[in-house]
C-alpha cells in the first residue's frame, strides 16, 4: 500500500531535484513579466517551472494581500515601532557616514585587509589541527547534541537551527531523511555563499539512521551555514537534504 508518507517523500524529492536542476529562484521582475504575459514562450516556460518548484514564491502570485488595520496594529506596538524607526535611522545614517568617509579611508582599509588576511591565515593554521568529525550515532542522543532540522520540507519550513554558544564544539545530530534505499552517505558543511568548508569521508548508514557531527567552535564563525547530506552510489553523489544552521 502506498502511504501518504511515501507520496510526500517522492513529492519532496522531486521538488528538491527540480530546484537543483533549474537553479536560482526567479527574480521579482521575471515573475512580474511572467504574470503580465510579457515573456517569450521559452522564458515563460522557464519561469513557470521555477514557480512550480518554489511554491512559496508561487503563492505570492495567487494570494492577493488585503489590508486589515486592526490585525496590523496588533503585530507592532507603538513602542516597538519607535524602536524600529530609531534602528532604521541609525542604519541610514551609518550607510551615509560610510559612503562619505570611504575616499579617505582606503589606506586604513588596506591595512585592515592585511590584518584580516593575517588573521585568516592564523585561523586556518589553527583549524588545520581541529576539523569537524562525523560518525555514526549509537544509542540515545546525548543532551548536549543539537538535533538539526531539514530545510525546505513541508511542516519543517526552512528553519535554521540556532546552535548553543557554550562549549568548545558544536555537537550536532543529523538524521537521514528521504532516502530509504541508500547505504552510503557523505556530509558537507557549506557557508552562506555555498562555499564548501568541509566534507566527510563516506559514511555507512548507521543502525540509528543518525550521524553525529562534532564541529570545533573555532571552525565556524557566527553566520549561516548548511549541513548537506549527500547520498553516495559509486562515483555519483546526490544531494538529499539540507540542514540550515545559524551560529549567533
Amino acid at each position: 500500500m502506498i502511504s501518504k508518507a511515501d507520496w510526500q517523500t517522492v513529492h519532496d524529492e522531486i521538488m528538491a531535484e527540480e530546484r537543483r536542476r533549474l537553479g536560482e529562484p526567479p527574480t521579482f521582475d521575471e515573475v512580474l513579466a511572467y504574470t503580465q504575459g510579457e515573456l517569450s514562450q521559452e522564458e515563460a516556460e522557464r519561469i513557470r517551472a521555477l514557480l512550480v518548484s518554489h511554491p512559496d514564491l508561487a503563492r505570492t502570485v495567487v494570494e492577493p494581500f488585503s489590508e486589515d488595520e486592526a490585525d496590523e496594529r496588533a503585530l507592532v506596538s507603538d513602542e516597538e515601532l519607535a524602536e524600529r524607526w530609531a534602528a532604521l535611522e541609525k542604519r541610514i545614517d551609518g550607510e551615509r557616514e560610510q559612503v562619505r568617509r570611504l575616499p579617505y579611508r582606503w589606506i586604513g582599509l588596506a591595512a585592515a585587509l592585511v590584518v584580516v588576511f593575517a588573521g585568516l591565515f592564523w585561523q586556518s593554521t589553527l583549524q588545520s589541527h581541529r576539523m569537524p568529525q562525523a560518525s555514526a550515532l549509537t544509542g540515545e542522543i546525548a543532551e548536549d547534541f543539537r538535533i538539526l532540522r531539514p530545510g525546505g520540507f513541508r511542516g519543517g519550513g526552512n528553519d535554521s537551527t540556532v546552535v548553543s554558544t557554550e562549549g568548545d564544539d558544536y555537537r550536532l545530530a543529523i538524521s537521514i531523511i528521504g532516502s530509504a534505499e541508500r547505504n552510503d552517505f557523505r556530509l558537507e558543511i557549506v557557508d552562506a555563499s555555498e562555499k564548501q568548508l568541509w566534507r566527510s569521508d563516506i559514511l555507512r548508514r548507521p543502525p540509528s539512521d543518525t550521524f553525529a557531527l562534532v564541529v570545533p567552535r573555532a571552525f565556524l564563525k557566527p553566520g549561516r551555514y548548511e549541513v548537506v547530506l549527500h547520498g553516495v552510489e559509486g562515483a555519483n553523489h546526490e544531494r538529499l537534504a539540507v540542514y540550515p544552521v545559524r551560529i549567533p
Binding site: M1, I2, D6, W7, I14, R48, V52, V61, T161, D209
Partner: protein
C-alpha cells in the same frame, strides 16, 4: 517637510502593513517579517528620488516584493522562501525518542520499491500534468494552479483528471486508499 520627515511619516503609516504583508504573502515568521520590512524601507529610502509621491502603498509593495525575492534568492540553494530562525532552546523537551527505532532491512527495501514505483508513474506524466500534480500536492486550488501555470481552470481539471487516471492505472489498487494530501485530485477543495 524634509525628505527624512516625509519618509518617517510613511514609515509610521506603512511599517505595520508591510510586516503583515510579509507574513501573509510570503509566510514569513513575525520576526523575519519585521527585519525584512526594515530592509525594504531602507531600499525605499535609497530610492526616494524615483518616488513621485503618489500610490504610496503600491510603490512600497513593489519595493517589498523585490527585497523579499532578492532575500529568497540569496538564501536559496534548495532554499526557498524566507527562513524562520528558531532557537533550539524554544523547542520543548523531547516529546518522542530522539532516535527512532531503525527500520529493518525489509521495511527499507519495501519503502524503496514503493517510492520507485511512484516516481516512475509520475515521471510518465506530461510536464503539464506533473506541474499540476505538484502544485496540487502543495495545497493549491484549481483556480490558483490555473493562475500560476497561466492556463484555464478547465485545463487544470483536465490535467489532474488525466494524471489521476494514469496513476491509478500504473499503481493499481495500491493507490485507492491514498490520502495525498486529501485524496487524489477529484473535486475542488
Amino acid at each position: 517637510m524634509t525628505d527624512r520627515e516625509g519618509f518617517k511619516a510613511l514609515y509610521a503609516k506603512y511599517y505595520r502593513r508591510m510586516v503583515a504583508f510579509y507574513i501573509r504573502a510570503f509566510r514569513l515568521s513575525e520576526e523575519d517579517a519585521k527585519d525584512l520590512a526594515q530592509d525594504a524601507f531602507l531600499r525605499f529610502y535609497e530610492a526616494l528620488d524615483e518616488y513621485r509621491g503618489d500610490a504610496e502603498w503600491a510603490f512600497l509593495e513593489t519595493v517589498a516584493r523585490r527585497v523579499a525575492y532578492n532575500s529568497i534568492r540569496s538564501r536559496s540553494t534548495a532554499k526557498r522562501g524566507g527562513g524562520q530562525d528558531m532557537s533550539l532552546d524554544e523547542i520543548p523537551p523531547r516529546l518522542e525518542p530522539a532516535v527512532k527505532p531503525p527500520p529493518d532491512y525489509a521495511d527499507r527495501e519495501t519503502a524503496r520499491f514503493v517510492r520507485k514505483r511512484v516516481r516512475e508513474a509520475i515521471a510518465e506524466l506530461s510536464q503539464g500534468q506533473q506541474q499540476s500534480i505538484h502544485l496540487w500536492g502543495e495545497g493549491f486550488k484549481y483556480k490558483q494552479i490555473a493562475s500560476i501555470l497561466a492556463i484555464s481552470v478547465d485545463a487544470v481539471k483536465s490535467r489532474l483528471r488525466d494524471a489521476k487516471k494514469h496513476l491509478h492505472e500504473r499503481l493499481g489498487e495500491d493507490v485507492a486508499g491514498l490520502n495525498w494530501p486529501d485524496g487524489l485530485p477529484e473535486e475542488e477543495r
